[in-house]
Symmetry: C2
Subunit: 292 residues, 2 copies
């Protein structure tokens, strides 16, 4: 029987019926139905199909050890945040998650509490502090905080090897016996996602700006708890309502308050004035809230 518009989808879905792994079979069956549904709806010309093939090929070829253009594509299409949403359905007091982003591609250097992750010294001094606790309020001593952020020009260290020192804007911190953490950095700025690749061209062609509101990335992990991949966003930052990757959650926005008090500055080892954000993190016990 010929492959026609009528027989196409059952023929291809049927070709995957012999898949041994039932989950892979389910995913591929769904992929075929939705992908064919898209083709049937837009009826691409061959030229459009060729453009799509080229776009996907260039997206793959733009990836290397420090750049992940397919994650960026997933991000700007809202797929990453949708995957996040379907995986975090239970309303809970735990800290909300958000996108990993494409720049968590190297191990962050270990640092001591109070250290700065800013190895350059350009930008407005900033202190971030908080406490990691379980959902019942128990402090999580020794919780691990992996933080990374762009420099004051909006670039991550891995985007500028040779220009930025390796590990600039990154740090792996261990909380103290009360689950507390504090570290120094520079106040984050809004910045564009990389626009010099296929995803940047897509945004330009669609009149979308490439900016993300000011934020610091964190992955927080502790024994017996589910880790959380999240951001802390700077209250009042431009683009909080139009993040290019749809990652803003109101629960993650914090004041980065200006502090002029020289005693407070001295306590953190910075020069006044500086910014100070408090960001407490609540983790969910690994076996459900009742196991906490």
């Amino acid at each position: 029987m010929d492959f026609t518009e009528e027989t196409a989808t059952p023929a291809v879905a049927g070709s995957f019926e012999g898949t041994a792994d039932p989950r892979l079979r389910e995913v591929l069956g769904s992929l075929v139905r939705h992908l064919h549904g898209f083709v049937r709806e837009v009826e691409p010309t061959f030229e459009e199909w060729e453009r799509a093939i080229r776009f996907l090929t260039e997206t793959g070829q733009r990836c290397d050890d420090t750049r992940q253009e397919f994650i960026l594509l997933s991000d700007v299409l809202g797929v990453t945040m949708l995957v996040d949403a379907v995986n975090h359905r239970t309303a809970s007091a735990a800290t909300d998650s958000t996108v990993l982003g494409p720049f968590h591609v190297v191990a962050s250097p270990r640092r001591e509490l109070g250290d700065t992750i800013d190895l350059v010294g350009a930008g407005e001094p900033c202190v971030v502090s908080g406490r990691v606790s379980s959902m019942d309020g128990t402090p999580l001593a020794g919780a691990l905080l992996d933080v990374w952020q762009a420099d004051d020009h909006g670039f991550y260290d891995v985007q500028q090897p040779g220009t930025q020192p390796e590990g600039n804007g990154r740090g792996l911190f261990t909380c103290d016996h009360e689950g507390r953490f504090w570290f120094r950095t520079v106040t984050p700025s809004p910045y564009p996602i990389p626009t010099d690749g296929p995803v940047g061209r897509l945004l330009a062609a669609t009149g979308r700006h490439p900016y993300r509101p000011a934020h610091i990335h964190l992955i927080v992990a502790a024994d017996g708890h589910l880790p959380v991949t999240t951001h802390v966003f700077v209250a009042g930052s431009p683009y909080l309502d139009s993040d290019a990757v749809f990652a803003v959650k109101q629960s993650l926005v914090r004041d980065f308050a200006r502090v002029d008090d020289p005693d407070k500055a001295a306590a953190y080892g910075v020069e006044p004035p500086f910014r100070h954000a408090e960001f407490d993190v609540v983790l969910q016990p690994a076996h459900g809230p009742e196991a906490g």
Copy 2:
């Protein structure tokens, strides 16, 4: 407003509303709805999402000047043939089209009618002949035939640079004043699509064989007519009913008849016995059948 399961699809589709090109806006809106529908249906874990990102990245990175793994992926998912189907809806007497395939990546060398495209001399001698005409039967003098096929081991020249002579299995022929063509080659064999990349791993994981039935590729073009990208398939070949890329149409299957007659062999400049296939091609006038 936070990005949630409820707001996700309108938020992302809405972000493309400012797209100047109305067709691009339509395609992206549809893409977002179908892609999000797929995510909602399968609810991928983050590990599954990461596998998908890696798969797409590796697919892009497997492409080079002589290999197009994304076309291969489109082929095995039936997308290529579905695009072909929605673009060739009108039932007509014109020759059916089928997939281009991933190996039409270099210009075929010009050859004279009767030349062989087999530069190696291994395999069973074969002659392909036919006539190119318009839908009303008018012969199309000077029609161009671009043909390419795998060697008797199932490889295209571009897959084996250094092993096969450049241009082996390829030829660009100009039909005579009666629209006739004939050329020599070796009888094509079934062969597997390349299995040493992500698409091959997908087929292996799903228990699908990678084989294509024996065929010769053709693109036929003539002034004032729509070109056709097609194959001629060998009747009786294995895999005619389970082509890995879903490209078989019954109208394109021909007998490759065994010929023992020494006079006929001499007329084509081959040694008997040889195979002979007749494949007439009918092109559609560029401005609809009435313009023929």
